[in-house]
């Protein structure tokens, strides 16, 4: 890339400078500090911290619940987006606004709200308990909280893509003999795939780092329902700063790896459509 070339957009240099500076100050610098701090332990020390069964269990719980939540959100989010774009309902505008509520709600509030709903002595919790399902204070509860906070990401990613989707494509599929399901599976969903994938990534990333809404309902039992973020706080409360940063760096690296993988996948999906000879 050469910057000497004349560009159509004005202020390219200024924009580039601002972007790099902002990214450095807001993102890279704190992360560098984090890595430096954990460096105090040395590689061997870090591995020792991370290899503790309790830490490994926390990572497993966090990633599995986040993955489950993101997958559930894809199904729910696409359905909600479908309803908001295609559905006919007098309260559509209201529902559209409510979708954003988890964005706006302080996470502690949603945590308490979910606990109040799902705790064994609460209405829904009791009903579920009678069916032999305990949600609160288990990984299922963690997943529920993550679904709650991640839903808007999928809805808001898929909604515009679905609104842009030409209705004639579905009509064409139908005129060629496709049933509603065939048209959905072979035409609509493949065309929405990039948007769905990006919603999935956002919901997944958000769930990995979620703290406030999860801790109330998780029960935080070591080895069973303790998430990584909580473990970091616990370490900090015990003044084990190096241990806390070691876990934080590992979480950071793993999240980054996941997101880069999904982005690469997304690029492949996108390329298939825009392929140019």
């Amino acid at each position: 890339m050469t910057f000497k070339q004349k560009r159509v957009l004005p202020g390219f240099g200024l924009a580039l400078g601002t972007t790099v500076t902002a990214l450095s100050l807001l993102v890279l610098l704190p992360l560098a500090a984090l890595v430096a701090r954990s460096g105090e332990l040395g590689l061997a020390g870090m591995v020792r911290v991370l290899a503790q069964p309790r830490v490994l269990a926390a990572f497993r719980v966090t990633f599995l619940t986040a993955l489950c939540a993101a997958l559930i959100n894809v199904v729910l989010g696409v359905t909600v987006a479908w309803f908001l774009v295609r559905g006919r309902c007098p309260f559509k505008r209201l529902i559209d606004a409510v979708v954003d509520l988890p964005f706006a709600l302080p996470t502690a509030v949603s945590g308490i709200a979910l606990t109040a709903l799902l705790a064994p002595d609460a209405a829904i919790g009791r009903a579920l308990g009678r069916l032999g399902l305990q949600v609160a204070f288990t990984p299922a509860g963690i997943t529920a909280a993550m679904v709650f906070i991640g839903l808007p990401f999928v809805v808001r990613s898929v909604q515009p893509a679905l609104a842009d989707l030409n209705r004639e494509l579905e009509e064409a599929a139908a005129s060629l003999g496709a049933s509603r399901w065939q048209s959905l599976l072979r035409v609509v969903l493949p065309l929405l795939a990039p948007a769905i994938l990006s919603g999935f990534t956002l919901a997944f990333a958000r769930a990995l780092g979620e703290y406030g809404s999860v801790v109330f309902i998780a029960g935080n039992m070591p080895m069973k329902s303790e998430i990584v973020s909580l473990l970091i706080i616990t370490k900090l409360e015990q003044f084990d700063y190096a241990g806390a940063t070691a876990i934080a760096v590992a979480l950071l690296a793993l999240s980054l790896l996941c997101i880069l993988t999904i982005n690469a996948l997304q690029a492949t999906v996108g390329r298939a459509e825009r392929r140019v000879s």
């Binding site: 030409n166 004639e168 494509l169 009509e171 064409a172 599929a173 139908a174 005129s175 060629l176 003999g177 496709a178 049933s179 065939q182 072979r186 035409v187 493949p190 065309l191 298939a272 459509e273 825009r274 392929r275 140019v276 000879s277």
Partner: protein
């Protein structure tokens, strides 16, 4: 496969898109639904396809070869539908686009892989785009996309082929080329086809029969020759090509055109530009005084623009030979004599006067 349309009406809220339409489309013909936008032609086509339903008052019916299809949904109707903007699946190759209709067939009817490949290649050959099988729609030109869309529609061996403004999104040259090609294709495969257009030239050139529509009703049905030479109404005459309208009044039981009557005159004379003779002196019949405004000699015919007594534009087209002998120039005062014309009264009723 013949198509019968019986008493089909369609309203959107307070708006009547189709008003009690009945129409017979003979098997194997290429029929054009011609009309301005809002005339209901596309709505009628979509109802035939099953993409839209007629008003549920019970009387509207669509029959293919005498068998009612009104109840069968679009995916069971086996109609080929071609959209103005192609509606190709952009995430599939050309090959997969054409194969789509075969792949979604129920398991029992679905052809084998090799059969599908053969069928797709045969269709690509038919539309003369064999080399593009592995391309994506975004890599094709507009004309190529529309031909692929046609091949895709033909893959299911449709009972009828329906085309909604198939050339509407193409530029002029491709459009002419493609409509000639469509006519040729129809002569090869003979599938009963209806195409919608607002372009009278397209309809006149391509179709076996033309159905002229206006405001949700059928104005006239006939061969291109019939509708052009013998328009059933003032609307049809105006819609099928350029027309000059002269306003006049009736005097002593005879229409009089002086070229300066206002537009509320009681009779209107409609004359096509090539049916007007330009004379230096008033002739024996109707002679309307006018002044030459502009002469355009580039083209197959010489186009002369004139202004009548009320400064309304009049267009005349004459062959180059006539123009050379007539010596017409801008600013000249001349008289216009209609050779072929039609006279209409105040409420668009046809009048028969001896002129």
């Amino acid at each position: 496969m013949s198509i019968s349309i019986h008493q089909v009406s369609k309203t959107f809220g307070a708006y009547t898109a189709l008003d009690d339409i009945s129409l017979e489309i003979p098997s194997g013909e290429l029929t054009a639904l011609l009309g301005p936008s809002g005339s209901g032609k596309t709505t009628l086509l979509r109802i035939v396809a099953g993409l839209e339903t007629a008003d549920p008052d019970g009387s509207g019916r669509i029959l293919f070869d005498g068998a009612p299809v009104t109840e069968s949904p679009v995916n069971r109707r086996r109609v080929g539908f071609v959209f103005q903007h192609y509606a190709l699946f952009r995430h599939m190759t050309v090959f997969e686009n054409i194969a789509f209709g075969l792949r979604v067939k129920p398991r029992g009817e679905r052809p084998l892989r090799d059969e599908i490949r053969e069928r797709v290649h045969a269709l690509l050959k038919l539309v003369q785009l064999e080399q593009l099988a592995q391309r994506y729609p975004s890599q094709l030109s507009g004309g190529q996309r529309q031909r692929i869309a046609l091949a895709r529609a033909l893959a299911i061996q449709p009972r009828v082929l329906l085309l909604d403004e198939p050339f509407g999104a193409l530029d002029a040259q491709v459009r002419t080329e493609l409509r000639r090609w469509l006519r040729h294709l129809h002569d090869t495969i003979h599938v009963t086809s209806i195409f919608v257009t607002h372009d009278q030239e397209e309809a006149l050139e391509v179709a076996d029969r033309i159905v002229v529509m206006n405001k949700g009703r059928i104005e006239q049905t006939g061969t291109p020759d019939e509708v052009f030479q013998n328009p059933a109404s003032e609307f049809v005459m105006k819609f099928l090509g350029d027309v000059n309208v002269f306003h006049g009044r009736v005097h002593n039981e005879r229409p009089v055109f002086t070229g300066d009557s206002s537009e509320d005159g009681s009779v209107r004379l409609l004359v096509r530009p090539h049916d007007l003779a330009v004379l230096p002196q008033p002739g024996p019949g109707i002679s309307i005084p006018a002044r030459v405004y502009r002469v355009m000699t580039a083209g197959a015919l010489v186009k002369i623009e004139l202004l009548d007594g009320q400064n309304r534009l009049v267009q005349v087209q004459v062959p180059h030979e006539t123009y050379r002998t007539a010596s017409v120039h801008a600013g000249q005062q001349v008289y216009l004599a209609p050779k072929e014309s039609r006279l209409y009264g105040q409420s668009s009723e046809r009048l028969e006067y001896v002129i």
